[in-house]
């Protein structure tokens, strides 16, 4: 598939889950394509990073379901922060483990899963839809009934995949990408490189094949498609670019400039602009210092 093919299968108002964690292995090429689309009113389920920020900045998001939105090396995501402080985005704020449990419940086609996380905290106060459930066994203990987080669509990014949709992560952490896929009606996998199936097990142990083709509806090859988040071992987070992204959120003018430079020319235009930024960033007198 192409990025445009994937976006063409989505509708306004959908609930979309995005894999990765914070500013790590995010399917940013798919996110950028979504940000450039005409879709609106989305609910985004994510261990949030710049995916959430970019979609908010593009005016795509009605509600965020998350436990945090962070750029990791920059603790607070600036677009999310501003949108919350303006009251411009709705939030379902969950404990990180509750988000995991909600995805697992959806993947297992259960209405909820019981959990201790949330009890006694203000997560129960600010989420009026949350209920508790009592154990039917002798212990009689009460738990939060974490509701299933059923997704219309999911985006995940892998280091490698084959054309059939078997996906492989080569970094240290699978995050929850398999659960996002199984919690979704349709899951879309982007990857650094599509390779022949036989090359997958040559690149890493069989346990690194996190995603199988029963989990996904389509595969897109997007080299550097997680940029500027990390996609180790293919590349680390682009810290200087992330810093530029964060600074650009500081004013509407700076964001307009950032968008014109990086977000107006499709994925190819983005990667070309990043290459220009990188060559400028390597030169202390270059554009990197002045652009923000």
């Amino acid at each position: 598939m192409t990025l445009a093919d994937v976006i063409g299968e989505l509708r306004s108002g959908m609930t979309i889950g995005i894999g990765g964690w914070g500013s790590r292995r995010k399917p940013m090429a798919l996110v950028r394509a979504l940000a450039a689309s005409s879709l609106t009113g989305l609910t985004i389920v994510s261990y949030g990073g710049p995916d959430v920020g970019l979609l908010i900045a593009a005016g795509k998001v009605r509600r965020v379901v998350t436990g945090f939105v962070s750029l990791d090396s920059i603790p607070l995501e600036p677009h999310f922060r501003q949108a919350r402080q303006r009251g411009a985005v709705e939030l379902t704020e969950l404990d990180e483990g509750m988000l995991h449990w909600g995805l697992l419940a959806a993947a297992h086609r259960l209405p909820f899963l019981p959990m201790r996380a949330g009890l006694g905290s203000d997560v129960m106060r600010v989420n009026l839809h949350l209920r508790t459930v009592r154990s039917p066994y002798a212990d009689g203990e009460e738990f939060v009934a974490v509701p299933a987080l059923a997704l219309d669509a999911a985006f995940v990014h892998m280091n490698r995949a084959d054309a059939r949709g078997n996906g492989q992560y080569l970094g240290p952490d699978p995050y929850f990408d398999d659960l996002y896929c199984l919690a979704a009606k349709r899951a879309y996998l982007s990857c650094e490189r599509i390779v022949p199936t036989s090359e997958l097990t040559a690149a890493g142990p069989v346990q690194s094949l996190l995603i199988n083709r029963a989990m996904v509806a389509g595969v897109v090859e997007t080299p550097s498609g997680a940029h500027f988040t990390s996609c180790v071992p293919d590349y680390d987070r682009d810290e200087s670019f992330q810093a530029l992204y964060a600074r650009s959120a500081g004013s509407p003018e700076a964001w307009e400039e950032f968008s014109a430079e990086f977000l107006s020319g499709g994925e190819d235009g983005y990667q070309a602009a990043v290459a220009r930024f990188r060559s400028g960033a390597a030169d202390p007198a270059g554009a990197a210092g002045t652009r923000a």
Binding site: L76, R84, G140, E141, P172
Partner: protein
Amino acid sequence: MTGSEPTLAEICVVACAEAWRGDGALVASPMGLIPTLGARLAQLTFEPDLLLTDGEATLLAPSDGSGGELAGTERETEGWLPFREVFTMLAAGRRHVMMGASQLDQFGNQNISCIGDWVRPKAQLLGVRGAPGNTMNHPVSYWLPKHTRRVLVDRVDMVSGVGYDRAAGLGGRAARFHELRRVVTNLAVLDFAGPDHSMRLRSVHPGVSVSDVAEATGFLLAAPYQVPQTRLPTVAELALIRDHLDPQSRRDQELA
């Protein structure tokens, strides 16, 4: 530098390390540099069974020297702990985390989510992250590099980590794994051994008086009749911190 008087940062590193004393083979999850140095110091000295990650998904242990290195000076991979396994270890109670707090109240209710009304906050902060689940499942301690009335407050805006009063309010068995262990600040070490598990002054750092701490605290703090001074680093601990764990003295920046 070895041999000179311990700095405040070094005293705080040791006070953080002490929070994990007696934990044995638990995953220590320190948030922030000084707690990280503390956990590593504990692992290298009095709590060798602690498990520690590299901040990502790899568990690192001090080398046992079998690879030819000097024992303790290098670290070697001993396991894998991706986020999904962190959540499992958390729920199994095999973890002791030291978190930060934007606000912390008398009974240990912690806020890292936002300041002001949650519906439209004055300042959006991190979000609750894992604090609700951490506090209901395993021991939790806190590190506060700035002990002020803005942080140690009468009432927090968004309860992320659960305090003793709320845990007790759940009744029954719900809170049986709830335990707030220690609060380490730039002024003092505190615990929850006050009346009804309220915060109690445990020790003051050198040069800090009990009234300094009371003045910087936004609620009435329990205290024993005589408040001891926080334990100073030993010569061996100072050498480990200065020469091995943090030779570039990044620890001082966290208190700047």
